[in-house]
Symmetry: C2
Subunit: 357 residues, 2 copies
C-alpha cells in the first residue's frame, strides 16, 4: 500500500430521510437498511481497506456519533475520529481532515467518501480510485468520481465532461436538474452523476481552500498549532461556531480550474431515499421488497416492508407502499409520497418534541 | 335487590376475531377494544351490579383465564369463577352454573350474559332484564332478550315473535341468514336479533335440560354431590371430557315450548368483528376511527387504526383499512377482508407455532 494515501469518511449526517428507521440517535450510516448484514459505514470501510491501511483512515462525524463510529469500525483508534461540534456541510468537514493531514503528513494524498453510499462492484471502484490517486499526484488535480447514469434521475447532481477520455477535465457541475433537463443530460452522453467522492493531494486541496474559500483557509490554518493537542476540541468548537456552511462542490469544485473527473460504472447509488432502497432490494415475485422475515403478504405488490426482528406482519391489499415499523414508530405511506417524510417528522416533532425523531 | 337473582357471565372465549389485539393469552373479554377505559367483562359486571349483589355473580370461563377474571372483577371471590377445562359451547357452560345454583340455592333465578357485548343504554337494559326476571318467575318461562334490528345484518341470529306484545312467545329461531332473507326479516317487523342473553328460574332450565338434553342433564346431575367440594375440579374435568358440545339455542331454546322473548332497543352490539368496532368507535371528520393517541393520518379515510400506547403512527393514503399494531404483530388489511383474519392466523401459526396467536 502507498503509505501516503488516506481515506476520509464523511459520516456526519443526522439521518432523517430514512425515518422512522433512521433516527437522530442512529442515522443511516450506522444502519443496515438493505439487509446486507453490515452497516453502510462498515461497508465503506471495508471497501477501502484493501488499498488503505487501517491507521490511514479518518472519519469526520458529529461528536454525538463518535462512539457509534468506533463501535462499527473497531480497527480505528479514537484519534482517527474527528468530531464536528455542528455540521457545516462538506467543505469544513473536508478542511478539518485535510488540515490535520497537512500537519501530520504534508505529502498525504486523500480520498474523501460519504459513509452511506452503496457500491456493488468494489473491485472496479478501487481500480478507479487508484487511477484517481495516480492522476491527482501526477497533475496536482482535484479529482472527482463520475458515475455513468442509467436513468434521468432528478435527485442527483451531474458533471459535464469536456471529452470522452477516461479522465476528463470537468466542464460544468449541475445540481439536481428537472426531469426534462435530466433527460437531455442522459441523451447527450456528456453528463455523469456526481458521486461525491473526491481524490487529491492534501497540498492541492489546501491550496484550493486558500484560493476559493479564504475565510475557511484562515480559520483552519489557525487550527494547525493546536491539532493533536489538548486544546484541539475547544479550538475546533470555535472554528465551527463561526465558519460558513458550504459544500465542497459549490465552494471549490465548481470554481477551481484543475478539476478532473474519472467516470465509470461500478454499481453506485447514494441510497438516498426509501425508493432507492426499494430499487436495490431483492424482490419477491410480486415485486415486494421485504428484507425482514416474518412478513405475510396478501394481494400486495411493489411494496417495501421493514419490520423489527422477532415481529410478525400480516399485510393485505397494498400496492406501491412503504411500510416501516420500528419499536416506537409505524409509518405507512405510498412510495410516491416518500418526499413527505420530512413533513411527517415535523408534525410528529411538533406534538412530541424530539422523542420520536 | 331480590336475593334469589344471580348473574352468570359466560367468559370462556379464546379470542381470535380481534387478532392480533386479542390473543389466546388475552381474549377480547379482557380487552378495552373500544377505548372506553374498561374491559368488556368489567363493563358487563358493572351493567348488572345495580341489580345483582356482588356475591350473586358467577363467571364461567376457561380455567386458563381464572386469574384474569379475578383481576378484572376483584369484587368476586375465587369460588365465583367456574372453570371449564375445555370449551363445549354454551349449553354445558350454562349447565355448570345452573346445576351449581340448583345445589346452593334451589329457588335461584338467573340471567345469563356473554362477557363481551356492548350495551349503550344500560338503564333501559336493566329494566328489561327486571321484566324478564318477573315474567320468568311468574310463568316458568325461558326468557331470551331480542333486539330491534336496524339493518339486515347477516352475522346475527334472529328470533321471530308470535305477536307484538312486549313479551311474546317465540315462533322461531333462525341462525345467520343470507342477505336476502335478512332483508325480508327486517321488513316483516316480526324478527329481532338474538342477543344471547337469557333469564330463567334455575328450576325451569334444569327441567329443560332433563327434557331436551338428557345426556347433559345426567352428567351434570351426577356432579351435584361433589360441587363445592375438593373433588369438584376432577369431576368437572371428567364431565367436560365426555359431554357433547352444543349451544343452548340449538339444544334447548329452539325446542322448548315455554320460550318467550322480551324485545327492546338498548344500543346492543356483540362487537364481534373489527368492522363492528369501527362502527361503534368515535370517528374523525374523515370517518377514521382512531382510538389511540399518537396517530398522524394523511389522505386516509374510513379506516380503523389501533396502535400501542406510547407509539406513534404516520399513515398516508389508506381508504377503508384496518391497521392494528401490537408489540409483536402488525396487521394491515382492507376492512372488507376482515373475514380473512382466521386465514392470517392459520398461516402465522403454521410458520411460528402458537407464539404470535
Amino acid at each position: 500500500m502507498n503509505t501516503n494515501r488516506y481515506c476520509v469518511i464523511m459520516a456526519g449526517g443526522i439521518g432523517s430521510r430514512f425515518w422512522p428507521k433512521s433516527r437522530q440517535t442512529m442515522p443511516k450510516q450506522f444502519l443496515d437498511i438493505l439487509g446486507t448484514g453490515k452497516s453502510f459505514i462498515r461497508h465503506t470501510y471495508e471497501r477501502f481497506a484493501p488499498m488503505i491501511a487501517p491507521d490511514h483512515f479518518l472519519v469526520v462525524t458529529n461528536r454525538r456519533y463518535r462512539d457509534l463510529v468506533l463501535e462499527h469500525l473497531p480497527e480505528l483508534k479514537p484519534e482517527q475520529v474527528l468530531c464536528e461540534p455542528v455540521g457545516r456541510n462538506t467543505a469544513p468537514c473536508i478542511a478539518y481532515a485535510a488540515y490535520l493531514l497537512r500537519k501530520t503528513d504534508p505529502a498525504a494524498e486523500m480520498v474523501v467518501t460519504p459513509a452511506d453510499h452503496l457500491i456493488l462492484d468494489e473491485t472496479t471502484f478501487r481500480s478507479i480510485i487508484g487511477e484517481c490517486f495516480d492522476y491527482a499526484a501526477a497533475n496536482g488535480a482535484l479529482m472527482t468520481v463520475g458515475v455513468q447514469p442509467t436513468r434521468p434521475d432528478t435527485g442527483y447532481g451531474y458533471i459535464q465532461v469536456s471529452d470522452d477520455a477516461p479522465i476528463s477535465k470537468v466542464k460544468c457541475f449541475t445540481e439536481k436538474p428537472d426531469l426534462a433537463m435530466a433527460q437531455t443530460f442522459l441523451q447527450s452522453g456528456e453528463f455523469f452523476w456526481n458521486s461525491g467522492i473526491f481524490v487529491w493531494q492534501v497540498s492541492s486541496i489546501v491550496a484550493a481552500f486558500a484560493k476559493y474559500l479564504p475565510e475557511h483557509h484562515q480559520l483552519f490554518e489557525q487550527l494547525l498549532p493546536v491539532l493533536r493537542t489538548a486544546d484541539e476540541e475547544a479550538a475546533v468548537e470555535r472554528v465551527f461556531a463561526v465558519c460558513r456552511a458550504v459544500s465542497i462542490d459549490y465552494g471549490i469544485m465548481e470554481k477551481a480550474d484543475n478539476v478532473f473527473v474519472r467516470c465509470g460504472e461500478f454499481g453506485w447509488s447514494d441510497v438516498g431515499t426509501w425508493g432507492s432502497v426499494y430499487q436495490h432490494a431483492r424482490k419477491d415475485r410480486y415485486a415486494n421488497a421485504v428484507p425482514s422475515e416474518g412478513c405475510y403478504l396478501y394481494d400486495t405488490r411493489s411494496s417495501l416492508v421493514s419490520i423489527p426482528k422477532e415481529k410478525v406482519a400480516v399485510i393485505s391489499g397494498l400496492k406501491d407502499y412503504i411500510v416501516v415499523d420500528t419499536e416506537d414508530v409505524l409509518m405507512i405511506c405510498p412510495r410516491s409520497e416518500e418526499q413527505n417524510i420530512k413533513k411527517y417528522i415535523d408534525e410528529v416533532k411538533f406534538h412530541n418534541g424530539e422523542r420520536y425523531i
